[in-house]
Assembly symmetry: C3
Homo-oligomer: 342 residues x 3
């Protein structure tokens, strides 16, 4: 059932321009929106699409408002505004409450929890109100899962781990597997160090598909409130990730790394073990953080790509950079000698 | 039951040399083949193995045919020929048809579909003829899966996604998880953008083990016909991958990237978001594509590895490349000055 | 129930200093240990913690023994000693024996095997004594699993694979998926090469969460005894990994690579296909091995990260390294000319 544009403004604020009675049935991109849809302009690069969009209304910043002939909501933060409206217009439909007959649940759980087909929940598990555990998830003995959390299918949570409220954990994620800890014998073989810590996850954390988070060796692996982890991330044992830090896909974080609050880590970046990253640090895509970063800022270590032949010519030189530097120094000495004479 | 070599030639073409009545029981590498096996030579590097192979017949190109004393099939494309013969000689055995009693299937499906143990198939799912869904897969409400597709165990397909005909999806793959989309509050916390698009996958697509493909934010994530994705790949929301593009393992593709047709992307490469890659582009292993590639060709951005001490000496210079360039310029100026005087 | 410190020394050796009757209830880090806990000092960087630890006893090397006022076990290899004691003090609790009623087991298995909820074990599977198969695992037809192996939840083993004794396989791991093998048609489409080899895994191998190991194309993919693989690793078809090699998270190994014995491969490193790595090679984190390594040693190919502005200034030069080398050569020639004249 559509809502009126002015209802949205009454609820979320912003300045309305145009017909407040416009009915809004959903949201869409400027390019993809059809009749009845509300769109938004967050990236100035797409401003020209305001002229051609079929959206009936657009959320945008004051400086772009004049470019739009349809109804609009003017706000200083159009993307954030859009996020709130979209979530309100389209709440995720919840699976029905109760335990599917094929699920095996060895702990007492609240009546409003939804447990899907073929789930196994072990003994001594504490699950709070409103949790959704989708099909084929496995939750080991002694885990705790906070109110309103949602586990998508095929998630594994090992014994003894703790997940806060309103977590969203996507399919294939593994929480609490053993950290990679071994001591080496003199013959080169490895003796496993028992991994007896837990994974402790705060509130409002999202964890992407096929991401894995190892339990601590002795102390815990800790993910603080509001952390967002994308897909295919590896979090090793005893890592600590601070509040509101967001980490893009394919990142690997080695053991005992300590990442600050409100950081952003770009896709496929790597964080080496036993180092510290300060609050408010941005690590660029594909950058290897090989030593601690003690000051807020943006840090990068990526290499440009080139057409293959050009790459061959230029990057082969990397093996001889030291020799190049020596040659420059030698030239400087010889030139100074000549300059003295002349 | 063996086939005769001349039956193979009758079916797949090529020129037969040697005894056409040779019985062929299977295929093998030049090194590993035993009696009764047919082998192939595709890479000239292995040509010397023709002298020692125990294969009873070999598929090879005209220029290598003279090196082989056993029976042979001569063709301009030995690897392609081998692929066809191998698939014909060894069709994958299909699990028995019907629904395993432990599976929970909430939609009507054709009689010739095979559904394994502990599978959950939600409501409003459309599954075409001959599909195989192996044990512990989860297929969400409203999905469509085309004829002849095969899902290996523990695959998760989120609600509303669409998979074409003859797909092969390996264990642990996740299709349709939420894209990583958040707007930021002024305090650094994140507001989730509902991810309401789908994943739409064409015909003849293969998806590797533990690969994840996120659903679109508003519009769909699209994988066109014939695309081959290896293991451990991350495909973010609203990515578009063109027909017959093949992507090796551990690649990460960020949101809204648009990859052309017939591209090849090497292992562990990264594709940044909101960029375009033209048709027929080859991206080398481990290369980060940080801007659009508008022309067909091969592009590379990898760094050579060195013995550790040599690496230390050379790569420390990367921090001073700009200073080195300045020194060269200063030398040029001073030298020109001297040359004028002399 | 606690053990006495002198019981530990009687069992594992080392020199006891202090009160041998000290009761030990568990192990902990120097920082995290509480009363009743035994700790260890392996990394000299943490030596100052000896003064503040609340551990009742510490395992340490002779040179650090004097810094510790509590009871201590002095040994030349404190980390290895700790590994052995920790495993002895805290054996992993085994799930109860027998087959969960919800599991589907189509092969005969020993009475002391533990099979969890919703597991599927296919026909012709050989499982040895004491194996643990946790909830929602899938083991395909014809597999063999050696005595004492432990599969955590949601592991998939494809048909025909072989796993040795005492393996530990973490959740979400996939063993035996098809290798990524295709021959290309002239129109750019791909013909699948049937992957008919197996994965053969030796004894005492550990495989991390969400790691995938492809079956061989024709011959097998082989993981020798004692190999340790961390999380999120990709092992392609026909790879061979030698005894006691340890590989950190997010590594990708391309097809037919052959890695020697007792190697260590750092996180997110890449190994290209069809190459050889000798025994006792250490590959650094994030290093791409693009050609064979024939001698033991440490090899590195990573790039330093910089503050973003500094990175821009320096790394843009990578595109012009060849030109820089040319300029140096030109300067040398001109300078030699001048020197001759002067």
């Amino acid at each position: 059932m559509p809502v009126r544009l002015d209802e949205i403004v009454a609820r979320f604020g912003g300045d309305l321009a145009g017909d407040g009675s416009t009915p809004i049935e959903g949201v869409g991109t400027l390019e993809g929106a059809g009749p009845g849809q509300l769109s938004f302009l967050a990236n100035p690069k797409y401003r020209h699409l305001l002229h051609t969009t079929r959206a009936v209304a657009v959320i945008l910043a004051p400086d772009a408002a004049a470019d739009c002939s349809c109804a609009r909501i003017v706000t200083s933060q159009p993307y954030l505004y859009f996020a709130r409206v979209a979530a309100w217009l389209r709440p995720q439909p919840r699976p029905s409450q109760g335990i599917h007959p094929s699920a095996i649940v060895e702990s007492a759980i609240p009546a409003d929890v939804s447990v899907g087909a073929n789930v196994w929940i072990g003994p001594d598990v504490v699950i709070a109100d409103g949790v959704v555990v989708e099909a084929n998830c496995v939750i080991g003995a002694g885990c705790e899962i906070g109110a309103g959390s949602w586990l998508y299918p095929n998630v594994t949570v090992y014994y003894g781990c703790r997940i806060g409220e309103r977590a969203i954990i996507h399919a294939g994620a593994v929480i609490g597997s053993d950290g990679f800890g071994f001591a080496r014998e003199s013959d080169g073989s490895w003796v496993k160090i028992p991994q007896t810590g837990r994974v402790v996850i705060g509130n409002d954390v999202e964890i992407g598909a096929n991401t894995s988070i190892d339990r601590g060796a002795l102390d815990d692996t800790v993910i603080e409130d509001g952390v967002k982890l994308d897909n295919q991330i590896q979090v090793a044992h005893n890592v600590h990730i601070g509040t509101h830090t967001a980490i893009a896909g394919c990142v690997g974080i080695a053991g005992s790394a300590r990442i600050g609050r409100r950081c952003t880590i770009g896709g496929a970046a790597g964080i080496q073990g036993h180092l510290t990253i300060a609050d408010d640090v941005n690590v660029s895509t594909d950058t290897l953080v090989a030593k601690s970063i003690l000051r807020a800022g943006t840090y990068t270590g990526t290499v440009p790509f080139l057409e293959h032949g050009e790459w061959l010519r230029n990057f082969a030189r990397l093996r001889h950079l030291d020799a190049m530097a020596d040659k420059i120094r030698a030239l400087e000495t010889r030139l100074a000698e000549l300059e003295k004479k002349s």
